[in-house]
């Protein structure tokens, strides 16, 4: 039972990590870490500025 719960926990953790990557939350966390900033309106604006061009160059399929 405990092993099963552990597996479910690991599965959920991976699922959340996938969603955080798709939704750019992980990229924001990395940006804060790299820039030594804490989350704020200004740091999010700075992240978007840096991230915008790279993100909008990525093609999405049909």
């Amino acid at each position: 039972m405990r092993r099963m719960l552990k597996k479910i926990g690991a599965f959920a953790e991976t699922g959340i990590a996938v969603l955080r990557e798709i939704f750019d939350e992980a990229a924001y966390a990395r940006f804060l870490n790299r820039a030594g900033m804490v989350s704020s309106s200004e740091s999010y604006a700075a992240f978007r500025r840096e991230f915008e061009e790279a993100k909008t160059r990525r093609p999405k399929c049909c």
């Binding site: 991976t14 160059r57 093609p59 999405k60 399929c61 049909c62």
Partner: protein, 680 residues
């Protein structure tokens, strides 16, 4: 696991798959249950992944777990980043899965459920998954280089140039067709238009929330946005019932086309944080949720397919689009079987996130299998409807007539009974004024999806909500592709123009932004306008054009892959990419020939222009004649360019195999990984 047990299990899966494929292929007469398609697909994917992709990994690509990937060697915390393989898989799948695997299979269902299903299964396992996998691996071994850069390095300058032009062309045609699908789904639909219009203020709200209230909490705000979108769908029914409000949100196709062009221009030229980024997140949230919901719904409810295995329209006289099963079924379904566009994503962001070479198999081959499964779900959604209803929704007025009674009589005369009263009752059930002539695939998919869900969740009373949820879902992520695609194309054009005049290449210089945005929107807007004004509904000419350009891009990708495989001294296994390449050349070149020169005016662009030119002339006729000639010219130019790549590639292959040319791959040097290789 004990080897004998493993062999027995895989033998059982293969046998089950063979039985299911046999049932799908040979069943005639009585309706078939959708579970047969689900079982056939699951077993094919399992066997394909376990054996075929492993064969490619071991014998051809020789994936090396000891070799450091660019994500490790060039890690910078931004583009290059070592990422968990499941996270990369999810990210890659979210990028490759768009409206294509939903719309193409719905349109191809006019041939029956069998051709689409067989092409999706065989095409994915032997072509699409292989293309995505090998291009991803080759990009990983070249520091994450793009397809156009690899084409230039491995085939020559012609390859690079053609890949570049093909990408721009496919983007423009794709955006025109995608916009047309939205127009056809929303025309004369106040409920649908209101819901989509509401996504704009919702996205703005999300943008402000992300920037000012809870910076960076994207998942949280996406969930909030999703709740608000559901509220907008709920509210839409009251808008459609209120006379003045309904009038406010009821637009003709040309008006919607103009509005979408204005939106596309604004979206390309304005900062993204306020509207586009939140809408992109909202669209992704809805897309992933809906695909998961549809998968669960189909497995749990296992609906019955009413469409026959093969319809009379395999002879090329179909009302949805004209043309015989070969080659047209194979260009109508691109995404879901093989899509050249995927090669751009496999050589874009994904290779820069791969931690180990060995993971390219799961990400490249596996994610394409997942997209193929989405295409199977779309086939099921289209085929659960009574065929008469399917054809009433998807047939243009130019074929079946404007009047409901006449259209119903025409469709019934084909052997697919439907009445005007049936259609009126269905339109009423989904909250629309009419469902006749709603070409483009999106409304048919929405009716199918609503049909599946309403049978268990909410019954007939929720049918309208499910329908509008499906319309919102498709329109939302098509619009996201419109704005993202316009931007990508703008950046590509700016990059090229920067070589001519430097300031034009600066992505922050407003004159250049405005000029290139106008150029790109004008280009896809032209195709959209052409589709809106087309008496045959637009999809008949534009979707094949899109299919041809997408598959021609896949031809370029497979040329690059075959060249690299031969350079790697694996020529004896080159059939792995050469056979799909030969198939695509046969399909795309035959389709192009038919679209240009077929004597049937419903198929051939030039024949239609000739027929129109022989009749009475009006400004509208002159325009349609010009458009047909333009479409023929675009098709011809694409074919000539891809022929150049093929010739250039063949010269390389012959040179290398005869020893006249040195077989030198342009890979990054081997660097040993700092990670300990895990077993398996």
């Amino acid at each position: 696991m004990n080897k004998t047990i493993s062999v027995l299990i895989w033998a059982a899966i293969a046998a089950l798959g063979a039985v299911a494929v046999g049932a799908v292929a040979l069943h005639r007469g009585e309706p078939i249950n959708a579970l047969w398609l689900v079982v056939a697909a699951t077993c094919c994917y399992a066997v394909g992944y376990r054996f075929y992709s492993k064969f490619i990994s071991a014998r051809i690509l020789t994936l090396d777990g000891q070799r450091a990937t660019p994500a490790e060697r060039l890690e910078n915390g931004r583009d290059f980043l070592v990422t968990n393989k499941w996270v990369v898989f999810g990210h890659h799948f979210a990028a490759i899965a768009g409206p294509g695997p939903l719309v193409g299979p719905v349109l191809a269902a006019q041939f029956g459920y069998l051709p689409g299903t067989m092409w999706v299964l065989a095409g994915a396992v032997f072509a699409g998954c292989v293309q995505d996998f090998v291009i991803l691996l080759f990009s990983v071994r070249r520091d994450g280089k793009s397809l156009t850069e690899m084409a230039k390095d491995e085939i020559g300058r012609v390859g690079g140039f053609v890949a570049y032009v093909a990408v721009i062309a496919i983007l423009i045609i794709l955006l025109g067709v995608a916009a047309l699908i939205v127009v056809n789904a929303l025309k004369a639909s106040p409920w649908g238009t209101f819901t989509i219009a509401m996504t704009m203020p919702i996205a703005l709200l999300m943008g402000v929330y992300l920037r000012r209230i809870r910076p960076g909490r994207v998942l949280e705000v996406s969930a909030l946005g999703f709740v608000l979108v559901l509220a907008a769908i709920w509210g839409g029914q009251y808008v459609s019932q209120h006379e003045a409000m309904a009038r406010l949100f009821t637009f003709s196709a040309p008006t919607l086309a103009i509005l979408i062009m204005i939106y596309g221009f604004a979206a390309s030229a304005l900062p993204v944080w306020l509207l586009l980024a939140p809408r992109d997140y909202l669209s992704t949230f809805v897309k992933l949720g809906t695909i998961a919901l549809l998968a669960v719904g189909i497995v749990l409810l296992h609906p019955t397919l009413h469409m026959p295995a093969l319809t009379r329209f395999v002879d090329g006289t179909g009302p949805v689009f004209a043309g015989k099963i070969f080659p047209f079924a194979f260009i109508t379904i691109a995404c879901g079987a093989i899509s050249g566009f995927h090669a751009l994503i496999s050589s874009g962001t994904t290779p820069k996130m791969i931690a180990r070479e060995t993971e390219t198999r799961m990400v490249g081959y596996g994610a394409m299998m997942a997209e193929s499964a989405v295409a199977i779900m779309a086939i099921i959604a289209a085929c659960v409807m009574q065929p008469g209803i399917y054809f009433a929704i998807n047939s243009p007025a130019g074929i079946v007539g404007q009047a409901p009674a006449a259209a119903a009589a025409t469709i019934s005369s084909w052997g697919f009974p439907v009445t005007a009263a049936d259609m009126q009752s269905l339109a009423h059930a989904v909250g629309e004024q009419t469902l006749f002539n709603r070409t483009g695939g999106a409304p048919a998919f929405a009716v199918g999806m609503a049909h599946i869900f309403s049978h268990s969740l909410g019954g007939e009373t929720l049918m309208a909500l499910w329908y509008h949820f499906a319309i919102m879902f498709e329109a939302l992520f098509i619009l996201t592709i419109l704005d993202a695609g316009t931007r990508v194309a703008r950046f590509m054009v700016q990059d090229a123009l920067g070589h001519v005049y430097k300031p034009l290449g600066r992505t922050s210089w407003y004159p250049s932004i405005l000029a290139t945005s106008a150029l790109i929107v004008g280009a896809w807007g032209y195709f959209l306008w052409q589709g809106v004004k087309d008496p045959l509904g637009g999809i008949n000419s534009l979707w094949p054009l899109f299919g041809i350009s997408n598959q021609l891009l896949a031809t370029v990708a497979l040329c690059v892959a075959t060249t690299i495989i031969i350079k790697m001294h694996r020529a004896k296994y080159a059939a792995v990419t050469l056979v799909p390449l030969a198939w695509l050349v046969a399909v795309t070149f035959t389709a192009s020939w038919h679209k240009m020169f077929d004597a049937n005016p419903r198929v051939g662009f030039l024949a239609q222009a000739r027929v129109l030119a022989a009749g009475p002339m009006s400004p509208a006729t002159v325009r349609v004649i010009f458009n047909n000639r333009l479409d023929a010219a675009v098709t011809g130019v694409l074919v000539v360019m891809v022929t150049l790549v093929l010739v250039e590639s063949a010269r390389q292959w012959i040179g290398i195999l005869s020893g006249a040319r040195e077989a030198r791959v342009k890979e990054s040097p081997f660097v040993r990984t700092r990670f300990v290789e895990e077993r398996g």
